[in-house]
């Protein structure tokens, strides 16, 4: 279970949010909403343990993530705003190496299946440099297809640059993960229809 208590985020001399509380149980989807600049990405980075909140703490299964560190990251997949692709590596290499750095070690045919599921298998041997914005996003998201075993997915604007088919596929993947007892925290501006038993909203503008 993921739990944020009394979170406060300050950027420069501006307080983005203060006293923020949320909980996320297995099998739930938490959608973080809010206008541009309301601190959605900052919140996700705090939840990932990449930045330290000005106040408050994030707990994973009752333990502070700052104490757990590597043990927490074993349970998390994060797809950030940036696609984390190297222009000079092929899509296949990017996915394989990206997964291995994250501590996932998928077999080669698994990564190809993952690319296939996102409709970018044909790009597997092309350098990421020549891919379109949407294709890059798909390659970056294909990591999710090989990380079903990770209980917590944190996705920052996963639907940007995707076409309808890819959005539908991603929604299916997220719905499947939640149905299988995983927890998903995501930010998005689009209306999404994900078949999740419990969807929570966290509005940062309020």
């Amino acid at each position: 279970m993921l739990e944020g208590t009394g979170l406060e985020c300050v950027r420069g001399d501006r307080t983005l949010f203060r006293g923020l509380e949320f909980t996320l149980q297995p099998g739930e989807l938490l959608r973080v909403a809010g206008e541009n600049g309301s601190g959605k990405t900052s919140l996700l980075r705090i939840v990932c343990g990449l930045s330290v909140p000005a106040a408050g703490d994030v707990h994973w299964n009752g333990e502070s993530i700052r104490r757990l560190r590597e043990d927490y990251w074993k349970d998390v997949v994060y797809v950030g705003h940036a696609n984390a692709l190297k222009d000079d590596l092929t899509a296949g290499e990017n996915l394989r190496i990206g997964c291995a750095i994250a501590g996932l070690a998928p077999a080669t045919d698994h990564t190809l299946d993952a690319l296939d599921a996102f409709g970018v298998r044909a790009c597997a041997d092309l350098p990421a440099r020549v891919l379109s914005q949407g294709q890059r996003r798909r390659v970056s998201l294909a990591k999710l297809a090989v990380s079903r075993s990770r209980p917590l997915w944190i996705l920052d604007e996963p639907f940007t640059a995707l076409d309808k088919a890819a959005v539908a596929h991603l929604q299916g993947l997220i719905g499947h993960h939640v149905a299988a007892g995983g927890a998903v925290m995501l930010t998005t501006h689009q209306e999404v229809s994900i078949a999740a038993a419990a969807t929570r909203q966290l509005d940062l503008s309020a």
Partner: protein, 222 residues
């Protein structure tokens, strides 16, 4: 853990193979700088022999520093660094892999080329061996110290100059010991003491620099 280490080294070498010009830049810079000095100084053999060790070492040091800006910058820009910081093995392992790859790409070519360039300065044969040995011990130290500077200035405007300002003073002991070893060898004095001190510096840098690099990277990403 070793698998991740191998993977990071492999990844950085693969990226370098796809962008050979970056690696070539460092090597060509070293060759040109070291070759310009004999032209500037003139063909006086004793003078060349006297300045040779220092010139070669300074050129190697600058060439190694030239490549520092690439060490973390592209990973920082495309978001890969965020993913690396969320790795399931200790971050020092990844950092060590990246520094090792940097050394393989900059240090090793310098070690291989330096004895050839030493011919231009008329260094005796024994001194060439000592030059290669001192670079073999010294360039990893340059990579390790340089990585601290590169990590500290990550994401800062004008980070190249700032890295140089931070790192060059720390390079001084390596330079003194490295050039000193070659001087001693060309004067036919025993250079073991210099090399042993360089080895000690290497052990010190290898144990003490990984943690600051990791911490600086975490601060940069935040």
């Amino acid at each position: 853990m070793l698998k991740t280490l191998r993977l990071v080294v492999y990844r950085d070498l693969l990226l370098a193979m796809r962008r050979r010009s970056d690696v070539a830049n460092t090597v060509i810079f070293f060759v040109i700088v070291a070759s310009l000095f004999p032209f500037g100084i003139g063909p006086e053999p004793n003078l060349l022999r006297a300045v040779g060790p220092g010139v070669l070492w300074v050129a190697a040091l600058l060439a190694s520093m030239l490549a520092l800006s690439r060490l973390f910058a592209s990973d920082f820009a495309d978001g890969t660094l965020e993913q690396m910081l969320m790795t399931t093995v200790p971050l020092s392992v990844l950092v060590f892999g990246k520094v090792a790859a940097h050394w393989l790409l900059t240090g090793v070519p310098l070690i291989a080329l330096a004895p050839l360039l030493a011919v231009q300065f008329g260094l005796p044969f024994e001194a060439m061996g000592v030059l290669a040995a001192s670079l073999a011990l010294g360039t990893p130290v340059l990579s390790l110290i340089g990585a601290v500077g590169a990590a500290l200035t990550l994401g800062v405007r004008g980070s190249g100059v700032l890295t140089a300002l931070l790192v060059l003073p720390l390079y001084v002991p390596v330079l003194i010991l490295g050039a000193g070893a070659v001087h001693a060898a060309s004067a036919e004095i025993d250079s073991t003491a210099h090399l042993m001190l360089l080895g000690a510096l290497l052990l010190f840098a290898a144990t003490c620099s990984l943690w600051p690099i990791s911490a600086a990277l975490r601060i940069a990403v935040e």
